[in-house]
């Protein structure tokens, strides 16, 4: 296990380094100089030069890359070109919206998918199975931002149960915050729940065809008992992987959903930064999201290997 962990850890570090180089390079080859952009077209050359020096743009590319990475390692994400505020603080503020939203959606999709997947698998080929499978077909075909708009139309505009957007802030009470995140979380969770239901169903069906289930049946368990006692536990491994992957996806998917509901999360931050060509913010937010994905995948891999020793020899 230790050997496996170290091996995975090494590949985690390599992934992070390559990812940071790629992101830095992409932003680096972006047309346009941030300093001249900030000062406008009428700026004097020496003013631009002074600002470039202040922003550190006059250093070599390698120095700036090392500065950027070194800063991130110590929690210093640089200074926003437009707001003149520490990027780390801006990200931290926004994370308080995006992270709870992603977790909320993850919980919802799991809570929907588990019963639905088990229900469908237990009634393979029956009406119940067909309705669940049909619903998942529809679930993966619906763009979540459009689903979000429909939720707003029904529950905010017509029924007035929720507000159509905005976020009151956590200091105004936990439930108020949760209520503001409910429609966004449902919209975000829908396609994920559909995918997870499918994985849950097919994973259970695979397991139910295994010999040990037949043995369990042979020793007198009913089909249902065999499913609950022996099937479920074994079917969970692929399901857990997908949940791990989904978390990352939800964090990224929240970017678009936040636009629908005017939520002040990472998504809004990144879009504002894009329109203002505040590339240091774009760079850092993207790196943070990629970091989250890579680390979550790493943790899922380790958890996987801890559960199933066969996997330690692979990779």
């Amino acid at each position: 296990m230790l050997r496996y962990t170290l091996k995975r850890l090494a590949s985690l570090v390599v992934s992070l380094i390559v990812a940071s180089v790629v992101i830095f390079t992409v932003v680096e080859i972006a047309p346009g100089d941030p300093a001249s952009f900030m000062l406008g077209i009428n700026a004097q050359p020496d003013t631009v030069a002074a600002l470039r020096a202040e922003l550190g743009l006059d250093q070599s590319k390698l120095d700036r890359y090392l500065d950027w990475v070194g800063g991130m390692l110590t929690g210093d994400f640089g200074t926003s070109y437009t707001y003149r505020a520490p990027v780390a603080q801006m990200i931290a503020d926004r994370l308080w919206v995006s992270l709870p939203l992603a977790l909320y959606a993850l919980t919802l999709s799991t809570v929907i998918a588990f019963p639905a997947g088990i229900f469908a698998a237990a009634r393979r080929g029956g009406v119940g199975d067909l309705s669940v499978t049909g619903a998942t077909q529809l679930g993966v075909a619906i763009p979540n931002f459009w689903f979000a708009m429909m939720l707003v139309l029904i529950f905010a505009i017509n029924l007035r149960w929720f507000s159509a957007g905005g976020f009151p802030g956590w200091d105004r009470g936990f439930w108020g915050g949760m209520k503001a995140l409910t429609l966004p979380a449902i919209a975000l969770a829908l396609p994920q729940a559909a995918i997870l239901t499918r994985v849950m169903r097919s994973s259970l069906l695979d397991i139910l065809g295994e010999d040990f289930i037949r043995t369990a049946r042979a020793k007198g368990l009913s089909a249902r008992q065999a499913l609950w006692r022996h099937g479920l536990r074994n079917a969970l491994i692929p399901v857990l992987t997908i949940i791990g992957l989904q978390f990352a996806f939800l964090l990224a998917g929240a970017i678009i959903i936040e636009q629908v509901f005017f939520l002040p999360g990472l998504g809004r931050l990144i879009f504002q930064a894009i329109t203002q060509r505040d590339l240091i913010v774009v760079e850092s937010v993207v790196m943070l999201l990629v970091f989250a994905v890579i680390v979550v995948n790493f943790v899922v891999d380790l958890a996987y290997a801890a559960v199933d020793p066969r996997l330690r020899t692979r990779a």
Binding site: A19, A30, W146, M149, L153, I157, I255, V286, L289, V293
Partner: protein
């Protein structure tokens, strides 16, 4: 023919034909504004109603289908064009340096949240349909590389490949003449699925303003425009949304149907 295949094929065909038809004929112009007749619900003149500029929604959807299909199709083309040769090469020298490098690069692309990178690319190089295609296309490469390599690896162990090697054919020739035709079915099925994912991704990107730019109509931007109108005229949001759902559903059903028709044993990874 299965029900999936017929239903999915029909839906897809309808959208493709509508997109092609829009080159020569649409019920109304897509740039002609008519403020007096704006936000009209579906009626005899405008079968699907009009938008906030009084443009005919049906015509907009037909031209928008062109954008969606073009973006998704080219993105799949990029994925296949680069991914399949990489997958074939990796399988031909399985376990070698090339295989290792290709697969590690694939893992790396998989590790990036695709939407975030699409946003980064469009942010840096400016929003346009071309940049959306590149952004979506990059993420199709590892998908095709992976299934090509996986299937090719098992094919390399088969007798007919052995026979070809004994006959003195090079690895490259074997890959092209014997492996590729046997992977083709799987690629067609996966291509259909990536096509539908591409339609969704394009809609998402143009919804946030990073896809096709005005005045080119696109489904995603129609929804973005509809957002503030949704209370006044729900049809401006409802109709383009249902159009996307129908197209994506059609492609997914087509993919399922093709998979069952081409080889019932095939299992395609849905990512």
């Amino acid at each position: 023919m299965s029900r999936n295949l017929i239903l999915g094929g029909t839906l897809t065909l309808v959208f493709v034909l509508a997109a092609l038809l829009s080159f020569v004929w649409t019920p109304d112009g897509v740039e002609a504004m008519n403020i007096a007749g704006r936000l009209k619900p579906p009626n005899a003149d405008n079968l699907l109603g009009t938008d906030h500029f009084g443009r005919d929604i049906l015509s907009m959807l037909m031209v928008g289908a062109r954008t969606s299909i073009a973006v998704a199709l080219v993105a799949v083309g990029i994925g296949m064009g680069i991914g399949v040769p990489l997958g074939l090469a990796a399988a031909a020298r399985s376990g070698g340096m090339l295989d290792e490098v290709i697969m590690r690069m694939n893992d790396l692309i998989f590790a990036f949240p695709s939407l975030v990178i699409a946003i980064l690319i469009t942010a840096v190089f400016g929003p346009s349909a071309t940049n959306a295609i590149i952004a979506i296309g990059i993420f199709n490469i590892p998908v095709f590389a992976r299934i090509t390599r996986g299937t090719a690896l098992s094919l390399w162990k088969r007798e007919f490949i052995m026979a070809a090697r004994v006959a003195g054919k090079t690895r490259t020739r074997i890959s092209v003449e014997h492996i590729l035709p046997n992977v083709a079915n799987l690629l067609i099925v996966q291509g259909t699925i990536q096509f539908s994912l591409g339609i969704l991704a394009e809609a998402g990107l143009s919804y946030v303003g990073l896809g096709a730019q005005p005045p080119i109509p696109s489904w995603g931007r129609m929804l973005a425009d509809a957002q503030t109108m949704v209370a006044l005229a729900p049809h401006v949001a409802l109709i383009p949304g249902l159009t996307i759902v129908a197209m994506v559903l059609g492609l997914n059903l087509l993919g399922d149907g093709l998979r069952d028709a081409l080889d019932p044993r095939l299992k395609v990874a849905r990512t």
